[in-house]
């Protein structure tokens, strides 16, 4: 059985192809002007890597912000279920997932089968999303990828007072003008980011294995701060944390095929 998942987010789009439970291909692109274009581009790349064509796919599920009207998807599903399922597929001990994407942040809990139990989500405010990090790293003049490691270069991160991304950007500029170090500001930004996600998860039963998905999971500084706040280790995923939504969609597509019976 060959299934696929495609996750069209606000900043990036991912496609994953699974063959009998094994990962054949996973591709990530920056989004194109339309979700349909993003989905076809990223899917053709994944198909090329897997050496397959669209007809070889038994079922495909789309997810993410741009999941509707994807021409080659059999079904669309919420990214909440997909992230839960994708993380659980990677490590069955995982029960809590914090997903920090380009324009939202979610805290998700799943049961012993990887099915959704509960979730909380912020999609109204850019604070605590990947956009926040993008804005601040630009203000700091640091590459987004270089922001995370700054947390390991200082013991004294600066406190970022403003929650709003727009004002935090100003705050960053003022701190720079006051002669504060980029390292301490950057470390403070990572910490502020982790605090937003931690506050979001408040009230959820967060026992069991804990992991972080989405683009921001690549920021090692945010991960370290989350470990401190949640008082537990973040389980390191064997795949790129940005593909988890698409991976979960591909896993759920297996169920779709099973429930409808094999095509042949």
């Amino acid at each position: 059985m060959i299934t696929a998942g495609v996750d069209v987010g606000s900043l990036s789009a991912e496609a994953v192809i699974l063959s009998d439970g094994a990962l054949l291909a996973a591709e990530i692109i920056r989004v194109r002007p339309s979700p349909v274009e993003s989905s076809s581009t990223v899917m053709s790349r994944a198909l090329e890597v897997a050496g397959l064509c669209l007809d070889d796919i038994d079922a495909c599920i789309s997810t993410g912000y741009g999941r509707d009207n994807i021409p080659f998807a059999n079904k669309s599903m919420s990214e909440i279920s997909c992230h839960g399922k994708g993380a659980y597929w990677c490590d069955a001990s995982i029960r809590t997932i914090v997903d920090i994407g380009g324009q939202d942040c979610k805290a998700i809990t799943v049961d012993e089968n990887g099915d959704l139990v509960d979730f909380k989500m912020n999609e109204k405010c850019a604070a605590g999303t990947g956009r926040f990090l993008e804005i601040i790293s630009k203000a700091l003049g640091v590459e987004l990828e270089a922001l995370g490691p700054l947390s390991f270069q200082t013991e004294t991160p600066l406190k970022i007072v403003n929650r709003c991304s727009v004002f935090a950007e100003y705050e960053t500029l003022f701190l720079l003008a006051e002669g504060k170090s980029i390292v301490e500001i950057g470390a403070g930004v990572n910490e502020a980011m982790a605090q937003r996600a931690f506050a979001l998860a408040h009230g959820l039963k967060t026992d069991g294995g804990f992991t972080v998905t989405g683009g921001v999971a690549k920021n090692v500084g945010v991960i370290r701060s989350l470990e401190t706040l949640f008082e537990t280790e973040v389980i390191k995923l064997p795949v790129d944390p940005q593909i988890i939504g698409a991976l979960g969609a591909a896993v759920l597509a297996e169920r779709l095929v099973e429930s409808q019976g094999a095509r042949e």
Binding site: P33, Q103, C125, A126, R131, R163, S165, V166, F167, L176
Partner: protein, 257 residues
């Protein structure tokens, strides 16, 4: 000569006035930049020069605004509450002001003023840029327009596009994609002006805004925002004849008189 000086250190602008016997003697308005303390010092000097006074003529000086507490100011002003200065300044602009709404670059403030001219109740925009002047600036720059032109461009619209995002960051992406998918810029701007007015109105309603209403702050210069705000609140704001950005600085100068 006996002068008092009020300086309001905002996020975008530093505003200063020199007053004598309740009369405006001089005013200064400078972009705050990244070093507001330096700019405030410059404004202080400008105010002295423009009123033909020396430091010895200054009886009192008060600083207020976001950065007043944050930076060390050479002229050692008294620190004034933003709400107190707003109420005082609004009462100066209109002797019967019962509500003042200040739409600044960073924060929206609404205050109910007691008959004696003191703040009775106030509400703030909760540390979020939505509804603020900064929101307008971001939208203007996304549409490649000058922020000062938003009222004119919006007023010429034939329709009003609904801006659904409240967050400035998301609203910026929203209007860019609206523009890319063919929405007319004037209609988008009209929607932006309206969305700011809506945000400000909710804050004003929380203090039960009533006549006479003074609207001030940089965004008060956007006549479309003011028109929509007045429509939503069903209150016509009072007209006054100084720059609306100066009201809090006036209040500060009066507080130390």
């Amino acid at each position: 000569m006996s002068l008092t000086i009020g300086i309001d250190l905002g996020l975008a602008m530093v505003k200063g006035v020199a007053m004598s016997d309740g009369k405006l003697m001089a005013q200064a308005l400078e972009p705050a930049g990244a070093q507001p303390a330096k700019i405030a010092q410059g404004c202080y000097q400008q105010l002295l020069d423009r009123s033909g006074a020396t430091a010895g003529d200054v009886d009192g000086c008060m600083a207020t605004g976001w950065a007043a507490k944050r930076v060390a100011l050479e002229f050692e002003p008294t620190l004034g509450s933003e709400i107190g200065c707003l109420a005082r300044g609004a009462r100066w602009a209109c002797g019967s002001a019962a509500t003042a709404v200040d739409i600044g670059a960073q924060i929206v403030k609404a205050v109910q003023i007691s008959p004696k001219g003191r703040p009775k109740r106030y509400e703030l925009s909760d540390k979020c840029a939505s509804g603020s002047g900064r929101f307008l600036e971001i939208m203007a720059s996304a549409l490649e327009l000058d922020v000062q032109s938003l009222a004119e461009v919006g007023a010429a619209a034939c329709d009003k596009v609904v801006i659904s995002a409240q967050c400035s960051v998301f609203a910026e992406s929203e209007i860019v994609s609206l523009a890319n998918t063919g929405a007319q810029v004037s209609n988008i701007v009209n929607g932006v002006n309206y969305s700011i007015a809506q945000r400000v109105a909710t804050i004003a309603m929380r203090v039960e805004a009533q006549e006479d209403l003074v609207i001030c702050g940089g965004v008060a210069k956007n006549t479309e925002v003011v028109r929509y705000l007045s429509e939503i609140l069903s209150i016509k704001p009072v007209a006054y004849d100084i720059d609306p950005q100066l009201i809090c600085a006036v209040g500060a100068a009066l507080e130390v008189a």
